[in-house]
Structures are given as C-alpha cells and as structure tokens.
C-alpha cells in the first residue's frame, strides 16, 4: 500500500529527467537563447518494501508496485538568463499481488520559469551562478487521489519557489545546491469523511501539507557529456503517518532521501539530438516506498 511515493517520485523524476532536456528545476543549467528543446522521458519506478510510518515492511496485497511514466518535456530559452520549461506525464500504476485495480491517466502539467540573477566569473576561470525558479503544477485529468498506493498523483494544484546555487570550479566540473518550497493546494475526495493524523474529518476536503526539498548535485558537464549525481531530501511539512495496516492517504507525511545518477550524451554538437539514461534509489523514507527508478530520455533541439 504504500505507494505513496510513486506519486512524488514521479514529480521528482519529472524534475530530474527533464534536466536532460537541458535543465531541471534544480540544476544550474539554462537553455541557450532562442533554443527550443523537446523530448520524451520514460521512467519506471518500483518498490516491494515501504515505510508504514517509520516501520519498514512488505505487503502481500501489493507485492511489487510499479509506476511507469511517459513524459513529454519542453524547454525554451527566452533570453540568455531566462528559460521556460513544461512537462506532462502519462502515468500507469500496477501492483503484482492483491486485487486492487491498476490506475492510469494523464497526470499533472508542470510549468517552470528559471531565472539566473547572478553570474560571476573569476580570474581563475571558476564560475558561480545563482537562480530563482517558480513552478506551478496542475492536474490535467480527474484521476482519483483516493486510491493510494495506486493513485497516479495527489490530484491537487501546487506552486513552488526554488533557489539554486551552482559553482563550476573549473570548466566541466560542477557542484549545485538547490532548495524548494512547494505550496500544495487542498484536495477534494468523493467521500465526506476520512481519518488521518489522529482525527476524523467530516468533510470531503483534505488539507495538503506543504513540501520542502533540498538537493545537492555534483558531476561533469562539458561538450557532449553531462553526468550529474544528485542527493535529494524531501520533507513534507505536516500530515500523518500511515496507520498500522492501513492504506496510505493522500496527505500522509511523505519523506525520503534518494540518490540519482544521470548520464546524458549529445550525439551531435551543438546538441541537436541527445539521449540520457538515469537511475535512482530511495535510501531512507517515511510513508513512501523504497523505490528504484530507471529513466531514459530522448531530446531534440531547434534553433530559431
């Protein structure tokens, strides 16, 4: 039952995968001016263990829960310092055991604007940049958020603000730190009562906790290659634990720490066609599955 993660995983993946596209919300990269990159990213995320609160367990009525996502991504360089990106995934969930139905559908459209407000190049060729990112996400279909762990998403609008600092000590090497605060709008269910976080709520409306995430990346990016390794920590600022042997719930406190690696290669420079592969794993969590994720993506850039 715990699938909680899948949802957030998908969001995160969206971020890390789109990065290939030239950028993810949390990286230190901008699209070149007047370049449009479009691509598709496939990811597959699965777990057979999850944390019920802080208790790590398996569930015979879930077996292995797999979330597949096929995401359209696009990025555009408005100016040398401002990029816009958008992505929209189609998501499938499936449990290998038990009787619960698979779910699938168009998930959430995410749009971001990333602006570089500081760029300092020093005499020793090191480069320091700082970015601010605004993000908004809106569900694009009326999938149900009341069927975790098989729901494909939270079904709620979100908006976030992110600050990213990126340092390239020498050309090619980089280290990036990024933090985001995401406001999550309330979600509506089809039922008029639910129990969570120690209380019976006699309403169909669920208050969704906001989310804080922090990440640190390091790696190499130069020429045809980009190879980041990213450690991400998500903290949900509220919400209750999954109760013993209960189903997970949309507003549970879903926390995790995960490690992702991506390898991106541009076939012809400058970057008309690129592909990437990636993998990630949840190291620790709470009310999420300990998932392993693989991704692959293909991108094409148009120069206007």
């Amino acid at each position: 039952m715990k699938q909680l993660r899948s949802l957030r995983a998908v969001i995160l993946l969206a971020a890390s995968a789109a990065s290939a596209a030239a950028q993810t919300a949390g990286d230190g990269i901008l699209m070149p001016k007047k370049v449009l990159s479009a691509g598709v990213v496939y990811s597959q995320d699965s777990w057979d263990q999850y944390w019920e609160g802080s208790l790590k367990r398996t569930n015979g009525n879930i077996g292995t829960l797999t979330t597949k996502s096929l995401m359209m991504v696009a990025g555009y360089g408005v100016t040398g310092n401002l990029s816009l990106t958008a992505n929209l995934p189609y998501v499938w969930t499936h449990a290998t055991q038990g009787v619960l139905s698979d779910m699938s559908g168009i998930q959430d459209l995410t749009i971001s604007a990333k602006y570089r407000f500081l760029r300092v190049q020093s005499a020793d060729r090191s480069l320091f940049s700082a970015f601010i990112v605004g993000t908004a996400a809106v569900p694009m279909s009326n999938y149900t958020p009341d069927f975790y762990p098989l729901s494909i998403g939270t079904g709620g609008e979100r908006a976030g603000v992110r600050m990213t600092l990126d340092l390239q000590p020498t050309p090619g090497l980089f280290v990036t730190g990024s933090s985001a605060y995401t406001f999550c709008n309330n979600v509506k269910l089809n039922r008029n009562s639910y129990y969570t976080d120690g209380q019976l709520y006699l309403t169909n409306e669920v208050a969704m906790p906001n989310v804080l995430d922090n990440s640190v990346s390091a790696g190499y990016r130069r020429g045809r290659w980009m190879v980041p390794v990213t450690l991400t920590q998500q903290r949900t600022l509220g919400g209750g634990d999954i109760r013993r042997q209960d189903m997970p719930f949309v507003s549970n406190r879903m926390d995790f720490t995960r490690l992702d690696g991506v390898l991106r290669y541009s076939i012809n420079v400058p970057k008309d066609l690129a592909f990437q592969i990636g993998a990630g794993h949840v190291l620790r969590g709470r009310n999420v599955g300990q998932s392993t994720t693989i991704t692959s993506g293909l991108f094409y850039a148009y120069h206007f």
């Binding site: 009787v99 139905s101 609008e157 979100r158 603000v161 039922r191």
Partner: protein, 512 residues
C-alpha cells in the same frame, strides 16, 4: 525586464496557492434548544431495563436547603472565573450530548477499524481485549463490531435518559439558573427539571459503554465525560447534586447493558479453524464453490459467528426465518452472467460510478457503513431540534436495526459461504478494498436498507432521499467490483425486512 517577469511569476504562483488551507468546520452543532420537554418520556418502553424506576434515584434536597444554596454559590463562583477553555467546553457541549458522543463514537470506530497486520512468521494475531494497546490494537472495529458498538452505546443512552426523564418529572427540581436568577444560563434555558442531570446521565452511561467497547480510549473518553459534566455545571444548567445523581444513574444503566453484552455471543464470534473449515465444507457438500480469502497471506474470515450474536428486535428463530433465499449456484449461468457484469462494470467504470463507489466505500480505517448512516442521521436529528431523549431514541432504534442487520447478514453470509467476484474470476480487479468475508448478501445493502426504513419512519419527508441513498450504497458495491447484483438485491430486501422488526417496536413504544 526578465527579472521582473520571473519575480512576477513566482509571486503569482505563491498567491495562487499559498492561501488558507484549513478544512471545516464540519457538522456544526448550534446550542440545543429542544422543541419539546418530552414530559412523558419516562413511560416510553425500555430496551434492557425492566422499567424506568429499576434504578432508584433518591429524592433531592430542597432548593431552600443550606446544602443546595451552597451548590448555587459554587456555580456562581465558577461563572465569575470562567476561562476560555471552560467557555469552549460549554459551547461544545451545548450542541447536545447525544450528538457530540455520536461524533466521538464515529471517530473511535474510524480509529480502530483496522485489521491486524500479518505476523512475520505468517498468520494473523487476534486483537485481545486484555491487551488493547498492543499490536494489533483492540478492537478491530470492523463493520459488525461497529454496528454492535453503535447500538450498545445508543440503546444504553436511550434507556438511561428515559429513566432520567422519569425521575426528573418525579422530583421536578428546576435548573439552577431557573431557581436563582443570579446564576447565569450559558446554555439555552428550559423548564426541564434538572435532577438528575441529563448531561451527567449521558456522560456516565456513555463513558462506561465506551470503556468496555474501546478500552484503549479510556483516557480520552473519561476526560470528555468529565468535561461534559463540568460544562453542565459551569453553564448554570445543573448543580453538583443534579450531576452526582445523573452520573450514578448513567453508570448503573451502563452496567445492565454491559452485562447483556458480556453474554450476547460476541466473545465467540471469531469462531475457530475447525468452524471455518466446516463452513467451507458445507458449501462444498452442496456442490458450491466455497469462499476463500483473497488476502496474502490468507486471512481468517471476519467474525464468522457474528450471525449467532444476540439481536435486539429479533429472536434467533427470526434470524433464520428471515434469511434470504440461496444465491445463484456458483455453477449456474446466472452466476457466470453476474460475474461477467462485475468485470464489465469495473473495466468500463465512469467517473460518476467511481465517485459513488468511493462515497460509499466505508472500508477499513473509516467509521464503517453503520457509521455512515449515523453521519446521515445526525443532521436530521440536529435540524429537528430534538430533546436529548428523543435524539437518543432515533439513534437507538437506527443502530439497533443496523446491529440486527449485521447479525442477519452475517448469518446468511456464513451459511451460504459464497465466493466474491474476484474469486470467481481472478482478473476482476477492485476499485475499493475487498472485504474479507463471503459475498452473499451485501452487508452495505443490508445495513442501508434497514437504516433507510428506520430513518423514513422518523423523518417521513426524507424518505425519497433515504431510499435513494440506500440504492446508491447498494449499487456502489457493484461499481467497486466487490459484489454481484444479486448480493445487492438480496441485501436490500433482507435489510428492509429486518428494519420492519424495529419499526414494530417504534410504533408501540409509547413515544408520541
């Protein structure tokens, strides 16, 4: 310029979503101003008591006595020093004790309505009343445990209040705010005699029932009950002696119901491996496919002998007589057709059908199907401005009917031991959790039909609405993929017949 654009985008996003997220308030209960004092309630027919004076309440002291005057002084002193916390307690309990406790019981059911987790070494532990704080917690407040719990709390409240009403009008001692106009009335003031205090009666009877039914909640229900009594005193509604008499009466009535509960068969309802096998063998001997658990690992069926638990309005013979006719044979064409209908339905489910399945899911972790009908009933009772004793009558008869529906339904389920759609066709996947007990007849349909009968009797103008909800609750099980159509039809008819037993009581219990 681009910088401004970025800042504007961020700001817009934050404003768009960063607003107030508090949910509620819900089920608001305005201060209860009962439309009638119900002077005859002391003569209404009892459920478990032999009569209204079975438990004696000694005569109160005169309102001119020094003892009573000092009680009034104590109220005035409290009222001169009320804290915000005390004012909130008064406002909360002024909504009505029966209604407030109904909300609390629903919360307890939702909290404890979780099945035991499997053991690492396989199998499942059994919730243990002697270790209610353990893992698993006690109880597992599944639908029939919940039906029984709601009925015991409501029926005990009802008998206790009828007895209280009897003594109130026997002694006719008015409330302190009526007797001394320097005592402020911080709850609506009525001419209802206040000895014994109805608030204290409700607190005493309810807390004792809940300690027996939800022992791990002892601390919170004890605090709630004490708060209810204090609120009655702080508000000028009852003196210390009104409250002491009410508390004693309430606890004594609870003892009668707890004794009944101890012997009603619930302690044996879990059955044993031998009994489960005999039930399966019986179905097999009739040439039918026997129900098996779809859970991994396979879980013992939920309270297979609940059908033997004592009903309120039906004898064991009535339970058997009213049992629905057999379901379609598992080898029949009708069963094949109905299984195919379930599959076709879940595989082509519309958004509206999914919404109905979820609305009436009432599965693990919720206040259960009987709780859903209590939720529905509360607003009708509240809006009718019923006195405490009349509100208790509605909930008692509603919940006794649903308990009897649970008994009758479980007796039939385990008599026929019929497989779920996902057992007949493992490719059928469900939109809601699959209950771990036999399919025929549908429990939610039975509960809902019995509830709709009773609610229509009390609130005839709502009949159309109750019938529509009954039908929607029933068909939601087909949409969820957990019941065949014949389960639903049989449950609906069965629940209606069971509800009629309660209506027979309601029509002859002396309440106008």
């Amino acid at each position: 310029m681009p910088r401004r654009l970025a800042v504007a985008l961020c700001a817009a996003a934050l404003v768009a979503v960063g607003c107030d997220k508090s949910v509620g308030p819900f089920e608001v209960l305005p201060p209860l101003e009962p439309s009638s004092l119900e002077p005859t309630a002391g003569s209404w027919r009892m459920i478990a008591l032999t009569g209204p004076s079975q438990i004696a309440v000694a005569a109160p002291t005169a309102t001119t006595s020094a003892a009573y005057l000092s009680e009034l002084d104590a109220i005035k002193t409290s009222q001169a020093n009320l804290t915000d916390h005390q004012r909130k307690a008064i406002a909360y309990w002024s909504g009505g004790g029966v209604l407030r406790w109904n909300q609390i019981v629903r919360e307890l059911v939702a909290r404890y309505n979780l099945p035991p987790a499997p053991r690492d070494e396989g199998g499942y532990p059994v919730p243990d009343a002697e270790n209610p704080f353990g893992d698993p917690a006690f109880p597992f407040a599944n639908p029939v445990y919940a039906a029984r719990a709601y009925s015991y709390v409501s029926a005990a409240q009802y008998d206790a209040l009828k007895s209280a009403w009897y003594w109130k009008f026997q002694y006719n001692r008015l409330s302190p705010a009526k007797i001394d106009n320097s005592v402020r009335a911080l709850m609506p003031l009525t001419d209802l005699p206040s000895y014994p205090s109805e608030d204290a009666v409700i607190s005493g009877v309810t807390v004792e029932m809940l300690k027996a039914l939800f022992p791990a909640a002892v601390e919170e229900v004890t605090l709630k009950a004490a708060e209810q009594r204090n609120a009655a005193l702080w508000s000028g509604k009852a003196t210390a002696s009104d409250i002491a008499a009410g508390l004693a009466l309430g606890k004594s009535v609870a003892a009668v119901f707890i004794a009944r509960a101890g012997g009603d068969g619930m302690r044996n309802a879990g059955g044993s491996a031998t009994i489960w096998k005999a039930m399966a063998d019986s179905a097999t001997a009739r040439g039918e496919i026997a129900w098996t658990s779809r859970e991994v690992p396979a879980r013992p069926p939920m309270l297979p002998l609940f059908g033997q638990v004592r009903a309120w309005m039906m004898t064991p013979a009535d339970i058997v007589t009213q049992r629905p006719p057999p379901p379609p044979s598992t080898s029949s064409q009708q069963m094949k057709d109905e299984t195919a209908e379930v599959k076709r339905t879940v595989e082509h489910l519309t958004d509206a059908q999914l919404a109905i399945a979820q609305k009436w899911n009432d599965g693990a972790g919720t206040y259960s199907p009987p709780g859903h009908w209590n939720d529905i009933a509360l607003e009708y009772v509240r809006d009718a401005k019923m006195s405490e004793v009349r509100a208790a009558r509605v909930f008692a008869l509603l919940n006794m009917a649903m308990h009897d529906a649970g008994v009758g339904c479980w007796e039939a389920k385990f008599y026929y031991f019929n497989p779920r759609p996902s057992q007949m066709d493992p490719t059928i996947k469900t939109q809601i959790g699959l209950p771990n007990f036999p399919s025929y007849p549908s429990g939610h349909s039975t509960f809902s039909a019995a509830a709709a009968e009773v609610m229509s009797y009390f609130f005839p103008s709502g009949t159309e609405n109750f019938d529509a909800m009954r039908d929607e609750a029933g068909i939601s099980r087909l949409y969820g993929g957990i019941h065949y159509r014949s389960d639903i039809d049989a449950g609906k008819a069965h629940g209606g017949r069971i509800g009629a037993f309660t209506l027979n009581f309601a029509r002859s219990d002396g309440a106008p």
